[in-house]
Symmetry: C2
Subunit: 238 residues, 2 copies
Amino acid sequence: MLERIELAVVPAEAAAIATEAYIVVDVLRATTTIATLFARGLTSLVAAGRIELARELAANERRLLMGEVHGLPPAGFDFGNSPVEAAAAPVAGRGGVLFTTNGTAALCLLAGRGAVFAGAAANATALAAHVAAHYASATVVCAGNAAGARFSLEDFAAAGMIAGALSDAAPAAALGDAAALARHTPDLADLIGLSEHANVVRALGLGGDVEFCARLDTSAAVPMVVACGDGWARIETV
Amino acid sequence: MLERIELAVVPAEAAAIATEAYIVVDVLRATTTIATLFARGLTSLVAAGRIELARELAANERRLLMGEVHGLPPAGFDFGNSPVEAAAAPVAGRGGVLFTTNGTAALCLLAGRGAVFAGAAANATALAAHVAAHYASATVVCAGNAAGARFSLEDFAAAGMIAGALSDAAPAAALGDAAALARHTPDLADLIGLSEHANVVRALGLGGDVEFCARLDTSAAVPMVVACGDGWARIETV
């Protein structure tokens, strides 16, 4: 039963927090896309931090190739890093590779320190139910901007939604300072659209993705990292 | 005229933000004590990160010796690191040394990167007026817990009060993501007393300090770092 809920405001803070579980949040858009792809029946996903590695894995393992460079899918990719696109994509029964530098780095940072999950507003309640039932302590980790060096409002907001779902699932659990701030903050979902990165995504014509990423519980998937290597994290649903 | 307001949620984030001014916030209790001592007429203060260095500077330069170990003044110290005590202390015309590991580290981290100030709820409006008038960009930096490795709710709350005062002084200034979160957060002053560290301070019987640290504008001092060395920062008012 969950006894302690922490929130790491940037990935570096997570390195100073010892918990049994970590939930990595890169809500605009990697972890929302991941939660959506698994809800559509994707069987497994490799998050890859380098584009050459992503292409190689997709070719060698016959996986769908997805991801973005400057927000859009590069030439030869099957799909972008778009949850709206993922929500309609024919991925059932397939494996995938998602090229995402920031998301992969945050997922791999915590490998070996505890169970690592990919979380978003999209799968907040499903993820929280699983984590609250199986671990005594959990940290929700904001992937952040600028390779994790900067705080991102959208990741804090989504992490706060997950921390809230954890707290609802385990009302007696103690909250660390940043988790307490998130609980105190009104209108978390609205903050996702008010972030600096939301403006970047909207400027690419992908405002639908921003709206999608702010929606709670569009997915029941609980994506967990099952293996990590140099620049990649393999994810399957629990 | 101030054009951009950033807030660094932990000291490490400030290293990734280039602005003309930095306002370091260690509200429970170092920077509140500093703002209070200068309001009482202290002429200069050296923040020292090592206790031997603090004793040496106080002896050699005939400065009042202040500070804490586990929250309380060590033997031979003139005063603790207590703003309530500072508010009544006969310091006018004297120099001081304040032994504070975390606060000194955060002040020195930014030396050479821009103008560095010590800020708290206590001097939020005075500091904001000065910074908004003299710099084009400013970052309010949370000193944090655990030697800056962890987010602290009380520093975020006080930093948010300062960011709010900056924004009031320069309404056209753009807000970075964490500054925008602070502007969105209600009842910032109340959060200081809800932090984990506030409980530690209260457990020492110093609940009056927690209440004092949450009060806005008890000081008109604008303390600025004028020199930094190995483990020390010399502070004078502007």
